[in-house]
Amino acid sequence: MKMKTLASLITIALLSPLAHADGEKIAVFTKNLTNPLFAEIRAGADNAAKQMNATTQHYVPTKPDSIPEQMSAIEDVVVKKPDAIVFIPVDSKAMVAGVNKINAANIPVVNINDRAAGGKFVSFVGVNDYDLGLETARFLLKNLGGKGNVVIIEGVKGASTNQDRIRGFKKALEENPNVKLLASQTGNYQRNQALSVMENLMQSFPQIDGVLAANDAMATGVIEALAAANRKALVIGVNGTGIDEIKQGKLLATGDYKGFQQGCLGTMAAIRHLRKLPVPAELMFPPNLITQANVQSFLVPKDKMVCPKWEDVVKK
Amino acid sequence: MNSTPPLLELRDISKQFPGVKALDHVSFAVHSGEVHMLVGENGAGKSSLMKVLCGAYRADEGEFFHRGEKVEIRSPADARALGIAVIFQEFSLVPYLSIAQNIFLGREFPGRFPGTIDHARMHREAKQLLDQLGLDIPTRTLVHELGVAQQQMVEIAKALSQNARILVMDEPTAALSDRETERLFAMIRQLQSDGVAIVYISHRMAEVFAMGDRITVLRDGKKVASLLPGEATPDELVHLMVGRSVDRSYARNFCQSEGELILEVKDLSSVNGVKGINLTVRSGEIVGLSGLVGAGRSEVARAIFGADRVTGGEILLHARAHRGNPDKAVAAGIALVPESRKAEGLALIRSVCDNLMLPGLSLAFPSRIYHAARARQIAGALIDRLRISTPSSQRPVRLLSGGNQQKVVIGKWLGSGSRLFIIDEPTRGIDVGAKAEIFALIDQLVSQGAGVLMISSELSEIVQVCDRSYVMRDGRIAGHLSREQLSEENILKMGVHHE
């Protein structure tokens, strides 16, 4: 008896947030709870949904980047049948089977951020990682005067974002034959691993002029390592999360990954699709850099950010 | 005596372990229908001989003959093929298997498919065996739910199930009550008349002379004598075992005056089923706590010590109320020598010194700073005082013999400032010489003003050693016997059900 009362109490407590739901329900899949990029994307999605009078539900694996968990979450969501899904695969290839399940359930899905290797999508919203890597690397090499020694800190080997960014880095290096690539090692997109790798690289190479990190977390790890060893090098990263470091002049530049906007426009695309409004098959942001020169405009705290108008972005 | 060749004969068996010659050219024979007693001090080689017999050890030298024919015993399977079955002192039972599964462990009846078991037949046959032993327990009962005596009976059923022609028993009565012992003896006589040969290891002189057809004495891995029961008195036998005369009567000066009250227990009950316990222990006396196995004696000890949760009643130590965990008990001056020295008494991988120091650490090192040198010094003094035979105080205690281990378990309390010693089965599995030493030690404790509450299954010990004794039955105190009333008959009368 007591148990039943308790159960219904819990039920009411759990149901209450759903009671106010109106408009379209959008399920948003991100990779993990720890990377700030995905926090930005989720914030963007929430903001867009609010603007358009829809609601979001977030699905994040409890173990970071867990394929089986994201797969289970898809299966669970398919039962609940949200109106649309905004989807970042934890692994671009392994999650194709999951996308197929969404397709089979006839739920429209917008792919953002990391492009899935297969499946049918209403649209893809993201940044071309190759272009972004290339532009950021070019900026660094220009600042080095087209010569000197550099190292690359790679992200997770299997990730397509990493592969494309590294391809971009290497293309830029090809354009600058006087710049010597000393080493390219992985920091698995993690700050502490990048820090250790950098410490060790500094032992092997007495002169490092520039560091190309495949994301900002690793770039900040590199900056810490440099500071601790009292050495100087120009560092670039990608993702646009290292704003403070740029402001402080420690990070030369970061490729703007526009996480918040990805969340915004991915969600808007999904809602527009539901409302039978036109949506392009692909919505790519241009490869912009955040540098000392334009950093001021990026200093808005996450909870104050507001999604751009769809028309403003898509017109371009 | 017997003109036919012996059922099994061992000639010149030797077994060497690093540093020890466990068996040194031992010859031994057992005839069909004979109970052959094997006696000797701990470490004399009885267990090694038994393990050679059942194939657990391989002899380095020597020959085996079965009905006069030369055979090999290299593995338990060889031994089993010869009809040898062993009842071990430390049980070879699996707690979460049923009685039937335990009885037939390793000899399961094949079922319809390869690798499967014919459960129906197994339980049927197990039931028959239990009936034979007069044991009325479902064969599907898991062994961990049984009491020690019942487990011993399962162990015996296990041996019987092998249709053994040669049955080896290692102190089978150690955990049995007198009534159960009687039943076991009746069964042994039955087996004997069926022509089964029985090798019986025992420390109890009464059993040796009552049951034995022949007695073989081992000492230091050698056979020192093989004789008939009529050829020696118990004292002579003990002399053969220890190689010197030992006074078996443990004579002591019984407590004359009434000492100060150390422990008073009022209406104590605990989660382990003891109820309404009232008892007292005074300074300078050894108080017995006797009764059948399973009557709740150890449970009373554990309740007083705080090892089991007390559910009611009062414990007064020096007239002050006491209640709490073992650490509180130790701080209040209670010492417990538990029933099982390996499971509860010793940290086997740690050194003699570490074990001896453990309860008294905070007394020896009040600042909590531990000095290894000082600990070695204290332990060394204890080792000398208790005559513990060990090359060094740093030796892991698992390498000591049973008697010496028991001395460590008692000895560790000498530095803890205890005034009340609760000693549970002080002489289980140890030899005659060590027994005398341990009783001398207990006597020394009480003469220095401590009080001792002693639990023993050997009634003769209670009668010889205690100033008075409580007798337990079914978790309650059934009665009290003063020094004058104390006799084995009186204990039995009180301890046994009146049906």
């Binding site: 148990m3 159960a7 219904s8 819990i10 039920t11 759990l14 149901l15 759903l18 709870l33 977030h58 694996p61 409890t62 980047d65 394929i67 089986p68 968990e69 797969m71 289970s72 979450a73 299966e75 969501v77 039962v79 609940k80 692994d91 671009s92 290839k93 392994a94 999650m95 194709v96 089977a97 997770v156 080997k157 299997g158 | 059942c54 657990a56 338990p76 089993r80 062993v86 071990f88 070879s92 699996v94 707690p95 979460y96 298997l97 599964q101 462990l105 390793g106 000899r107 399961e108 690798g115 499967t116 078991i117 599907r140 898991l142 739910e145 989660v271 382990n272 089923g273 089991d308 949760r309």
Partner: protein, 323 residues
Amino acid sequence: MSENSIATPPGTTSTFSAELRRVPGVAWILGLLVLVFALASRDFLSAPNLLNIGLQSVILLILALPMTMIIMTEGVDISMGAVLTLASVVLAWVLAHDGSLPLALAAALVTGLAFGVGNGMLVALLKMPPFVVTLGTMGVAQGLALLATDGQSIVVSNDSLQAVYAGSFMGIPQTLLIGAVVYALSHWLLYQTRFGTYVFALGGNPDALGLAGIRANYYLIAVYAFGGLMAGLAALILTSRMSSGHPTAAIGMEFDAIAAVVVGGTSFEHGNGWLFGTLLGVLAVGALRNGLNLLTVASSVQVSCIGLLVIVALLIDGFKGKK
């Protein structure tokens, strides 16, 4: 009678009422979870959703069943997730190189078996502590998976592979069938065969086996080998589910399996194990994750809930068994 008498464990003493008396904490929790989720979400008790819970639980179940036996021998195998992952990579690799599905499955099973036998031999023959042995082999398996794939997924487009997870046989989803077969097999092994009897003995009293003339080591190796083999089998389902092999796909899953086993009432001591409890434990984890997803509970809360499930289940058992 006295409070402390330990309730009769099931299996060997298999009257139904005896089993009921031993209802462990996990069963109450599973019941409560089902009740709450059923009240809170219309979808929870729907057939497709129950099917989801079943499907999602199968891989964990296939790991947890042999894990139950391993834990009963007072051992543990923390390499299972990594071995599963490696076997999945091997399976995908064979398929990607035009191997047939039976060949690929055989390769995965052999991979799992090899690690299982290796674990078993190190544990049994060298008397090395199981946790350490399998911590080492976990690194080896994980490393091999990473090296073999260079950190990337191996994508497989093989219809027969996809049919394993999604397909059904006589109206029953194949994945569930595989799970049921593995459960039946494990149950048969543990309760009907000599092997099972010796598993109880390995944890309860290994000396008894030696004295009975049984080569305990063979059976100890066999227990770990069974674990490895099942990891290889689970790889079939995992790979089919993802249509690809990924070098970190199931890393850490062994801890979930161990938790499910212990929550299900199997103890690390004395060979006291219960296979049905493991099934309940796995289902409780599955129902919890699924239900929280259906209620769209915040992910951070979900993370804590899984830990709470484990702790609360043990607390209930602890209070019930308190002396």
